[in-house]
Subunit: 303 residues, 3 copies
């Protein structure tokens, strides 16, 4: 199994942690090419078959990948099976091997159980693109985030990016951390004690909300309200009071700073509704940028 692994290495995208600056650059550059492409549809991959395998629900991310795939003319097959986090990795493994056996050329995969993707990739002979695995990585999200920052500031090197919210459970936070550090940015976290990831403290300090707002990019994470049961309304307003980006807090941001959020937002919880489409918010631009990023990633997997 070793032989085909090395050629897959350049086509799969499991995470950003081990990607070099030049590998990141080449994806970002290709995304810029696709963004500026005048024809909406460039069917260069009409004979390639790709499966979107979602073992965890995500209509938005699936939609974005499908848009990218169809702009490239790829043959798209969707597979959704909400597997509980309890479900054994084996059953995900069997399913992915099944779809592979049917002749797909690459797979986009989202799944909950931690550590399963790594194991999968060792046994599957087509390139896999990670669309979110547990709290580990969500590489295309971070790529589109970095792409959005680069469009705004020209350079990632030297930027200060604050990531605020449930860092512990966030694959978005982790993928951004790895890419931003590789490209020379400084990352700060801000989170309540229960939402901190101790293993990341070596890479980014936890700071107060006030310090976090002093940054070039203020990236809010989605409050995972579904994790809490009772007293959710109380916890919403408390969360907003302590860690939400309110209109008042946004006024203390630097004049050139931008607001980011991976979406979907909880309006008036982690971010005030009035800020979602504020002039310094890049939230909908992020989503636009997701398509050329995913075109670059899909093309890299299939060409």
């Amino acid at each position: 199994m070793i032989a085909y692994r090395s050629s897959l290495r350049e086509r799969e995208l499991l995470g950003l942690k081990d990607l070099s600056a030049s590998e990141l650059d080449s994806i970002l550059l290709r995304a810029a090419y696709w963004e500026s492409h005048t024809e909406k549809r460039a069917p260069i991959l009409e004979d390639r078959f790709i499966a979107n395998m979602f073992f965890e629900n995500s209509t938005r991310t699936r939609f974005s990948f499908e848009m990218a795939q169809k702009r490239l003319g790829t043959q798209v097959l969707n597979f959704a099976a909400a597997a509980s986090s309890m479900e054994k990795g084996e059953s995900i493994y069997d399913t992915v091997r099944t779809l592979e056996s049917m002749g797909i050329d690459a797979g986009v995969i989202r799944l909950k159980p931690i550590g399963v993707l790594e194991e999968l990739a060792k046994h599957v002979r087509v390139p896999l693109i990670n669309a979110g695995d547990g709290n580990n990585e969500h590489p295309t999200q971070a790529l589109l985030d970095v792409y959005t920052m680069r469009k705004q500031f020209g350079e990632i090197r030297g930027l200060t990016v604050s990531i605020i919210g449930d860092v512990k459970h966030s694959r978005v936070a982790r993928s951004n951390l790895w890419a931003l550090r590789t490209l020379g940015a400084t990352v700060k976290f801000c989170a309540p004690d229960s939402m901190r990831a101790p293993e990341l403290e070596a890479y980014a300090p936890y700071v107060t909300m006030e310090e976090a707002l002093n940054a070039d990019v203020v990236m809010m994470l989605r409050a995972q309200l579904e994790r809490h049961g009772e007293g959710i309304l109380k916890s919403k307003s408390e969360y907003r009071a302590q860690y939400g980006l309110t209109v008042d807090r946004a006024k203390t941001m630097k004049s050139h700073a931008i607001i980011m959020h991976p979406a979907p937002v909880n309006r008036d919880v982690e971010i005030d509704g009035d800020l979602v489409e504020a002039p310094n918010s890049k939230i909908f631009s992020q989503m636009s940028n997701g398509v050329p990023i995913r075109m670059a990633v899909v093309e890299r997997a299939l060409r």
Copy 2:
């Protein structure tokens, strides 16, 4: 936002209430063109991307739109997220803006909350096609109904159309009312007290079942059995006895009159099973006619 609204006006389809007779005519005419088109597939829109955004379940209507879109060669992306009627319009708004950001050229949308579509259309810059919003409008259904009547009778002007059932909660009733009145037909309603819409009395009188059956078109509405909880079997047979189109009642219809129903039918509730495919029933013809109607509407949005 005003500037692009006026050009959208001619491409979107939010409802039939404000459409002129000539606008209705032009859609019906184009549907006739597509129905008579010899090639099943006329891929004139291969570079356009359309999203079917269903915030309320409807496999049949989605299927019909997708058939129309694929006959035109459109790139189709499906998005389904059963939002409860309780869900705030804001979250639907954010989702639609998200999909718009990803580069769709038009969207077909179905949703439950009343009044949200109107608001959405003010902020979204791609044309929206209403596939059913709350109890407000379901314009493509009424267009295919009118198209079916015109095929049958040659002219809408002068026809008498009875709409029987839960008028209060029916967007099909409303869209038909507006289109039929604009095109010169007379509409009569027949419904139990609890299913009447008082605000529509100015446009169409409520009549007895006997009077309702005296019409050129007898259009039965689907009994929303899911609204009732207890005693559903009792209410089924009671409903049939009082407002159902039974085989006996159908015999009292004029010899040239036709039976219509938006489907899916509840056999032996609002209509007897034996009538569904009776010679004077147009129920399956309506469904066939839905495809060219939606081709006309999709083409209008995207050309």
Copy 3:
């Protein structure tokens, strides 16, 4: 309705029971053609529309059909509506007639209620392909099974095939039985009393596990764990002990014999996890072979 039925007869695929050896051969031969086809995509059916109508969940089978359809360039529309086995056949009938009215050229259908498909096929004017109906037939599964055996052994005539597990509820067992007998193989069943189908005893004897393992092909059926409620863990290990293909039992198989399973497997219930990818297991090959088989069947329906 008689007139169009006879021409449909050669294009539909309701089951294998009434197919002749030469009809089976011609499908298997065409599948071999498609398997050896060098181009992954052979868009010979771009103007044909096919609906995958799944009234019973099956993401894997649907995916395999869609792969086959897209390799042939067919326009694919998916329709899924998990109808309970309680649901009246009438509502399935109305839905299928609805999709037919919309202009599909053929339909792939999976459904639970027994006997409904036969009835449906009498009234629908497009060819239907059975993707599994109740416990009756699952013809494309058996075709891919037979195809897999023929690739392995060159000939079906003279083979001994043991089918082990819940024969009573298995459409896979029935379709294999019919095809294998027609092609000259000998079939043996092995099942606990509660899982035997008395009406099949005329065609294949029930034997002990030891005798069953003495065969050229050992085909394990999926244990329908969802049928059992309480004590499922206990029944799992008991089932494995009595009817599971364990590593130890597999050692008693003939050296040239192969293991088959329609998938998805319950690892360590009806088959030990270590056997799934053993050298004599054809489980993932079966899935690969499903695609050319379904290409042959879809092409037969649409050409």
